[in-house]
Symmetry: C2
Subunit: 662 residues, 2 copies
């Protein structure tokens, strides 16, 4: 695997970056003064602002742009809902217990870690070079130190085959592997217990009885499905439409690692787009995106053991059936545009198709938008076709009609076998069995009706099984029943919509975005490298740093007024009137990703001019305050670039000297 | 109690309003197709948009305006945190069980309901008029039907006294009342079990061991306190400062009622303002608000059994010590301004001071902003001085320094007794006891030091108890120790900040705001009254309804482009191109609180002019699309009123006819 580089071509220094993120309080382990809890994090002010900007942009890009129906549903959810959805039975990982120290181990991670270590030991014994594997952070495991020991060639092959399909084993199979290869907990040498399923939902009880079990939702989707009938009504029966929801979800991971990428509490933004399954799932706005080029890694490529991506327009991909349908393709394109808009490095974004064996229990096709980071390729957005699975199971369980009744502008004429029971004669003939016999006849399907129609014609009667009556069957004569092949005109049809679900892990996007934005500025004096986070202005946690040259008291009211003006324009700013040098103050804000700096100096007091500094280039322009604020506004709302502004306003160089000296 | 009226002076029809809110999907019981769960609600599109507007305005009004440090902390919280904060032991209600049907009853609600019913029965027996009591929704109980039966005068007085202080009884006292007055569950006639505490936090376990107990937070505050040291560091050690957090909190109510006002899952927005306890808790921006008049109901008035409010400037209230300090007063004023900004009817807002017995275990002074609704006066914002309680207990438990080290510009000189131990002689003299004796000396407080200094002077030695050594005490001579009264200069001081906490229940504000905004428009034809929600434009879930006059296909691209332009301006709109009459379409949107309607008709196709309708007055103006959109923008951002716009643009009357006819 090639070494990952920053946007400026530097080798990615994750440790340095993470230390900077902690120092600047982007995020911090939750409850740290109590020793912390794995997989729970708090966002500090810059992380929280970045998250709010991601959400605000998401709302504009998806909800407002497409008139989606945003809802905010309950996180605490009663047992029955997740029993029906399948989560109670299937949303689990396999777990072994170490009988010696009581440690809980994820079975697949254990097998993977031990076999990989053995293969590494084998390579070392053979004198081969050991390369760092591309690590999947979703299952990042403790590094097991490898014992240098050569293995049989056949065993090496077996191990490799096991590792290639590690996601496909169930608990029994994992237990079998553990026994077969004598896999033990590396920490203790103990043989682990057989794997048992551990459900990943946090459990709780609702109300005081202690009997009403509930869960914290692991996704926001179910709340949207349960409200489908009301949402359709709200949308005045118009199809297709989408609902959307932004909120926290929870997964009680067995042993979370990899920082913000695998956590127990996380913010999601999910869209459920409801579409008629007939007619090829077309999307009216598909033409707007069909020429957009996406980077795809399809399932066939992966099945052949490759990870080669290709660039292809989404129009072509749908045409070639690489992507199943227009609606799925439309949302993939919209996801691409969103990631671009929030500042992802698009050379580090790809769409990977799920292989059949890795799809969730409800999905019928799925593409993940993955972002490349130092942890490998990270699934940040799932885009799944959940088919009619959820609406169907909830309707079946509750009887609520989670369907669409479509009035047909052109009525459909169908040829059907139709039964006509002569009720007057039927009752007296069958007496107390009458009801059950009639029900059995009405439950017949088309082929059965066709057969009995022939029986009536040929023999004047047919014999039908009726389990509930004494005789077990009944013979029905043509005096009692007619079965005819008729034209039936339908003026409406009923269907259960299919669901296309783009599902965004906001925390994963946030972390990946930080990696995509991070680089360091070497200092000429050979000082330590200084971090920079090159967020687009609209994403920057703070847009403007207001920097009075010194603590001179003439500067303070100017700074305060400028902050007020910027707030009126909807632009966040902070004043740094600390005694630190201007260079130090800018450095700190480069690490915070603050997009611009405005310096107030003695010239400002005289003529109202200020200096505007751009974070990435550190170049500066100088003009009247009003022109500078206007320039900032146009760069924040995206109507101008820094290059445009540099072209329009006079360059300023004096202070840069001071910054270098800092 | 006077009948509550709408903003237009109509009698408040809650049932009618709530039916409208459900029909328009402002909110809906969560999991309704599964039978629902008490106290859990979902917000539909208009409720969700209203909530988002309340939050966005909150962020601008508080976080941005005051440079607060917003954080987003974990909801799932380990046991130890809430053990320390006092919630595990004290955050409970008293509950009885009915042994017959297993029903759980809130003990105070049970006593209250039964005694009130008996008093009502007594009144009826005496032939007195029975008035509906002002109901506190926080403890809204099942109505118990009254048996008509005269009581002894003395008993009536006893009951009344019990009811007046129902909030003050603990479990034992409530159990005593239940026994004494033979209070039974009205539903079954059974004698309930003695009250036991039921903790209101939802419990869960974190991770797979089953041993790590946790809770869903009942407030966002603790996460902010635990991060205090990091936030102070982020704020570059500057005091005072505030953190803020917006997020869900949870309370596992025993039997939630009263719609959105008492729920188990709710959105909070909380500020923790950290302030030096010395110097009278001044606030630098207090002068900006000191002339603002608030409506106050102080504790003395309440203690005298009155509910008479008075209007007073916050400056005067702080001066008179009605409100304890400037910082508390500053935030009360800011809360007032926020409620005004989001559209509360300020004649239905008051600040009520907590009485000593109703304050939370951590608070030392507290004022609630209450909003009047058909459920009574509702606590919507708490504004408490939590003193140094939380930071102190967490520091004590964890040892983390949750303090401020203030560098003193003017050093403090203190006269102190200072011990000087001559280590060279001390060790050899006391041998193995030396360490413990020295520790005992160093632990002495000022009065003890003064006494021993005198002993040294008078007798040449002092005798000190040292529990850990064989002799139990030690005699220390003046050759070993000097104790002198000296001047000590301190260049810094350490203190634990006090916390002023404005805490907003967003759901309660949302509901109260809906009641304050609701009224009905009588129709001239005697039709059913049509609901209107008069939100300020900035709060309206949708700002603009775009209404093509008919389904004519020339209108559709104009409507689409107009929606696009409005989105670019950051203004939410929806197109209603259904076949319904214009009047019907406007009516529906009056119920949704949509602020404006823009009609596209044949004249639009010809000359680009459109009609703009204002929701509350139903009056219309007509002008070029660009001028109309500009007018809408200025009304949404608050720079112009409808009156201003009416003064500038030509009036339009033709279509109003059609609306009346609808």
């Amino acid at each position: 695997m090639a070494t990952l580089t920053t946007r400026t071509g530097q080798t990615m220094d994750r440790q340095g970056m993470e230390s900077m993120l902690r120092r600047r309080m982007f995020y911090t382990p939750a409850f740290e003064i109590y020793g912390g809890v794995a997989g729970l994090y708090d966002y500090g002010p810059p992380g929280c602002a970045l998250q709010a900007n991601l959400i605000e942009t998401w709302r504009k890009h998806f909800v407002l742009e497409e008139d989606m129906l945003e809802v905010d549903c309950s996180v605490v959810t009663p047992h029955d809902v997740f029993k029906t959805s399948g989560h109670v039975d299937k949303f689990a990982d396999w777990m072994c217990k170490d009988p010696k120290n009581g440690e809980n181990l994820r079975a697949d991670h254990l097998v993977e870690a031990v076999l990989e270590a053995r293969l590494e030991g084998d390579k070392k014994a053979r004198g081969e070079e050991v390369q760092d594997k591309e690590v999947d952070p979703k299952k990042k495991k403790k590094k097991v130190s490898a014992e240098v020991k050569k293995l049989d060639d056949a065993l090496v092959k077996e191990y490799e085959e096991v590792l290639a399909q590690i996601d496909n084993y169930d608990g029994d199979a994992l237990g079998g592997l553990i026994k077969k290869y004598d896999i033990r907990n590396p920490a203790t040498g103990a043989e682990p217990s057989p794997p048992r399923p551990f459900n990943l939902m946090f459990q709780t009880t609702i109300g005081p009885s202690g009997k009403d079990h509930g869960y914290l939702r692991p996704e926001t989707a179910q709340g949207q499905f349960l409200n489908f009938a009301k949402l359709l009504e709200f949308n005045m029966q118009n199809m297709p439409f989408a609902s959307a929801s932004i909120g926290k979800s929870y997964r009680n991971e067995i042993s979370p690692r990899a920082g913000l990428l695998r956590v127990r509490e996380f913010l999601m933004a999910e869209i459920e787009h409801f579409v008629d399954p007939e007619g090829g799932k077309k999307h009216p706005r598909f033409p707007e995106v069909e020429n957009l080029e996406l980077t795809l890694l399809d399932k066939h490529t992966q099945l052949s053991g490759q990870t080669t991506t290709r660039k292809i327009t989404i129009g072509q991909a749908v045409k070639d059936k690489v992507v199943d349908n227009e609606t799925l393709g439309y949302f993939m394109a919209r996801i691409h545009l969103y990631l671009e808009r929030v500042g992802a490095d698009m050379s580090k974004v790809r769409f990977r198709q799920h292989m059949a064996n890795e799809m969730a229990h409800y999905a019928c096709d799925c593409w993940d938008a993955e972002m490349q980071t130092s942890y490998g390729w990270i699934e940040c957005v799932g885009c799944a076709d959940r088919s009619a699975y959820d609406l169907t199971v909830h309707q079946k369980k509750t009887g609520a009609p989670l369907i669409v009744r479509q009035v047909l502008t052109t009525p459909i004429v169908e040829q059907l076998w139709v039964v006509d029971i002569d009720r007057k004669k039927f009752g007296p003939h069958f007496k107390k069995d009458g009801k059950l016999v009639a029900e059995a006849i009405e439950a017949l399907d088309e082929p059965q009706l066709a057969k009995f129609a022939k029986d009536l014609e040929d023999q004047g009667s047919f014999t039908i099984d009726v389990p509930g009556i004494a005789a077990g069957n009944a013979t029905v004569g043509k005096d009692l029943v007619k079965i005819e092949y008729k034209s039936i005109t339908k003026h409406s049809r009923e269907y259960t919509p299919n669901v296309i679900e783009p599902s965004f892990g906001i925390g994963r996007i946030l972390y990946s975005l930080i990696e995509h934005s991070f680089w360091t500025r070497g200092t000429e004096g050979g000082d330590e490298a200084r971090g920079v986070l090159s967020f687009p202005p609209a994403m920057a946690p703070t847009k403007v740093l207001i920097v009075p040259l010194s603590k001179n008291e003439e500067f303070s009211p100017i700074a305060r007024k400028m902050g007020h003006k910027l707030r009126q324009m909807g632009i966040s700013s902070r004043v740094d009137d600390s005694g630190a040098s201007i260079g130090k103050r800018y450095s700190r804000n480069d690490e915070l990703g603050t997009a611009f700096g405005i310096t107030i100096d003695f010239q400002t007091v005289k003529d109202g001019s200020v200096t505007l500094r751009e974070r990435d280039s550190t170049r500066q322009v100088r003009a009247d305050e009003s022109r500078i604020l206007e320039a900032v506004q146009s760069m924040v709302n995206g109507s101008k670039s820094w290059k445009d502004v540099e072209g329009e306003l006079p360059k300023f160089e004096t202070q840069e000297l001071e910054i270098r000296e800092a």
